[in-house]
Symmetry: C2
């Protein structure tokens, strides 16, 4: 099997951190999304959504979507558990993973994609007013996360999970979007230092 | 336990269809999101994201996010399987659920939320150019889905799954957004008739 990815993009990093936490080694192949390599006919045949990362199994099956790839490896290598254990815990991890992805990562990405001239060929059309509209949504979500991290060590509760991976990649994506963690969000700062110190953060 | 929802909104319908397929009965309580009932202090304490549906367990635990609620019930009542079985199948269901949610449902919702004057108090600010930008993305995804449904009976393959539920709710949401299935997408039409005929579609 192999993973096709763009090293510098945030979604592939989610999968690399996940694999590092699991200590799973997989072969990687690079395609440069900034060079429109994902719009080629051969890549589109692998993933009609024209996005990375994708996991190509030995039988040719393609699994796209970062979370789907992570879930595949969670099923094959359950330890350490990154999607929760038991009905309630798995639901909480799913809830927080989604909040971090749809409520934080997504809005940060929209700011970048709709405001940075370098993204103009990937985001057609760029809508400057939409980039602006996402900025307060990022701040709002960071405050919600900050309140939550006043009580909990990790995003989905007492244990590191895929929700922390999504949140870490999102927060490290603030800088390219020219955004930052508000000073008042000290719990987010504490958590960010903690998860950034794990070896997987370098993946 | 109980589910707090807004009957007319699309996300709560996803959970109701899921529960109907599983033949699980749960008590429902209504809050009108159009009347800003989700912005109240008591509801915000339950879900700081101010969204429905939420599942409130007997011990007071709140599970928000439709997919997290569905996954909770899948763990407790595995049959009929709606999230797949085995690593590969579960990954494919996750992939297609996400494609239907992020690549279809999301864009349809953006068209409605950013163009309909009745949504102005919920989507601040409304960005008309963003509504427009989402319309071709909806059409593109419907064509990708159509190609896929030329080979497969259901969205995630040979078996009805949560990916079909998300796709059905998304496609039934085309009309309020003043969009439609392109005539050329005959496979989507065939599939839509088929899943709409299941008793759960009325949930």
């Amino acid at each position: 099997m192999k993973i096709i990815e763009t090293k510098a993009a945030p979604n592939p990093r989610r999968v690399r951190i996940f694999l590092c936490e699991k200590q799973i080694e997989v072969a990687f192949e690079q395609r440069d999304l900034m060079e429109c390599a994902l719009k080629s006919e051969d890549f589109t045949a692998l993933n009609p959504m024209q996005r990375v990362p994708i996991l190509v199994l030995d039988d040719g099956t393609v699994i796209a979507e970062s979370v789907a790839i992570c879930r595949y490896f969670e099923e094959l290598h359950p330890e350490p558990v990154l999607f929760g254990t038991g009905a309630r815990d798995r639901a909480m991890v799913e809830m927080w993973q989604r909040r971090m992805e749809l409520g934080l990562f997504f809005h940060i990405a929209q700011v970048l994609r709709h405001s940075n001239p370098k993204m103009a060929h990937l985001e057609v059309p760029q809508v400057a007013a939409w980039a602006e509209a996402n900025k307060p949504k990022v701040v709002e979500m960071l405050h919600i996360l900050d309140d939550h991290l006043a009580t909990f060590e990790f995003v989905a509760g007492d244990r590191y999970s895929i929700a922390d991976i999504t949140a870490l990649v999102a927060i490290d994506f603030l800088k390219p979007a020219q955004l930052y963690i508000p000073d008042a969000c000290r719990n987010v700062g504490r958590w960010h230092q903690q998860v950034s110190a794990r070896p997987s953060a370098a993946a």
